[in-house]
């Protein structure tokens, strides 16, 4: 198969979980430097599609390539460090401090601990560095997840309802992070049910309805 010019290239992708068809015949491309806003009602399959793009869920059918790698091949594991995902719920460890959470990601990824502290400063959380994540508000935890993406600099950033529970300054932060990824010729897929809030951050939109892109 020739090398792909797209960061995401899906053709006829379907996902079945048990007896339920969640996605069917999804045709989707996202080019470098592009920010795609994916909209749809609850249950339309937005989060499932995002998980497929994140290589966390294998498609049941069709052809899917992410960052040039076919998702059927074992190489998909190698692509993961180049992906960033901020999902519905924070993925922090509640017992660890906000900084320790970032430092864990830094150690695993081979990034310096100084970069973790710098990323925490970039999201305005340096004063709360030692606070256990379990005692931080949802919005603070979200900011730390944004800091993780600033630190790891993914080529493909996936955001699931990024505006939830964020104050206006944090929303500006999301816009800044998205702009940073695009400047590096990365790409962003942003899932939301709120078209108006996401519109300033996307270069293109698509609607998911009944498990397929309209």
């Amino acid at each position: 198969m020739p090398a792909s010019n797209f960061h995401v290239e899906f053709s006829g992708v379907g996902v079945r979980i048990g007896m339920a068809t969640i996605l069917r015949d999804v045709e989707l491309t996202v080019a470098p430097g592009e920010s795609l806003g994916l909209f749809g009602a609850n249950g339309a399959g937005k989060t499932t599609l995002l998980r497929v793009v994140a290589t966390l869920l294998k498609p049941s059918g069709g052809s899917a390539r992410v960052l040039g790698v076919n998702l059927d091949s074992p190489d998909r594991f190698d692509v993961r460090p180049r992906l960033g995902l901020i999902g519905h719920s924070p993925a922090l460890y509640p017992e660890l401090s906000l900084l320790a959470n970032l430092e864990f990601a830094a150690r695993v990824s081979g990034v310096s601990l100084a970069a973790a502290a710098e990323a925490l400063r970039a999201v305005g959380m340096e004063q709360a560095a030692d606070r256990p994540a379990g005692e931080a508000s949802f919005g603070m935890q979200r900011r730390v997840e944004f800091a993780r993406e600033i630190m790891l600099q993914p080529d493909l950033l996936l955001l699931d309802e990024p505006h939830s529970a964020l104050d206006p300054s944090a929303i500006e932060l999301v816009e800044h992070i998205v702009a940073g990824v695009l400047q590096r010729s990365g790409a962003v897929v942003l899932v939301s049910h709120d078209v108006d809030r996401v519109a300033p951050m996307v270069t293109r939109t698509a609607e998911l309805r009944g498990g397929t892109i309209q």
């Binding site: 460090p81 960033g84 993925a91 017992e95 990601a105 256990p132």
Partner: protein
């Protein structure tokens, strides 16, 4: 195995030990309950020193096994699906994750075992003349139980059965470890006659390590 593997394994072990240090579940909950369990037996069978010294070693390892299962259940509970996704996307080697989790669990279990052994000696009046075997037996038991707990936790997460499945998986598979540990310490033989029990334990630990390595990737992918 490259430096990235060891870096990731150490990061996972450090994370789990840090979490345990902050939560303090083993120190403040499991160890006191284990000590109480050891205390209940003399109350139940009566304070007959002969009986107690005879059953002491067996009781110690029964308590270690049962509370080892509890620790495994706890460790299964502490990882949420978003945390698992985040781990996968950090590109962590599943075998490094297995090694790191097992190492952290083994350290926690070893601390538990050492405290329980001291309590058992104090309560049961066990003859400690041959207890130098413990230097080998306790780490082997801790590593074996930690491997079992890590594998069982991953299986439970994979089939989305929750923590209820973990004791069902761990308890029967821990029997060779329990037998090996008890028999090694109880049948102390200066000529090395109890070496066969140690070999059994070592084989169990090795087999579990192989199973853990071989199943790490498939279990990470299906959880």
């Amino acid at each position: 195995m490259n430096s990235g593997f060891w870096r990731q394994a150490m990061a996972v072990a450090r994370r789990d030990l840090e979490r345990e240090r902050h939560a303090g579940e083993v120190v403040w909950v499991t160890i006191p309950f284990g000590a109480i369990a050891l205390l209940l037996v003399p109350l139940a069978v009566g304070i007959n020193q002969d009986v107690l010294s005879r059953i002491g070693t067996g009781m110690l390892f029964v308590v270690v096994m049962l509370f080892g299962v509890l620790t495994s259940i706890r460790r299964t509970n502490i990882e949420t699906p978003p945390q698992r996704d985040a781990i996968a996307l950090l590109g962590i080697d599943p075998v490094a994750e297995f090694a790191g989790k097992t190492a952290a669990s083994a350290v926690v279990l070893l601390v538990f075992e050492v405290v329980m052994a001291a309590v058992a000696v104090a309560l049961y009046g066990i003859d400690i003349s041959g207890w130098w075997w413990m230097i080998i037996v306790l780490p082997l038991t801790a590593i074996g139980l930690a491997e079992l707990g890590t594998i069982s936790g991953a299986i439970a997460a994979s089939v989305q059965a929750g923590p209820a499945l973990v004791p069902l998986l761990v308890t029967p598979l821990a029997i060779p470890l329990l037998l090996g540990a008890t028999q090694t310490v109880e049948n102390i033989d200066p000529d090395g006659g109890n070496l066969s029990w140690l070999v059994l334990m070592a084989i169990v630990v090795l087999v579990l390590a192989i199973v853990g390595v071989l199943t790490a990737r498939p279990l990470q992918e299906t959880r």
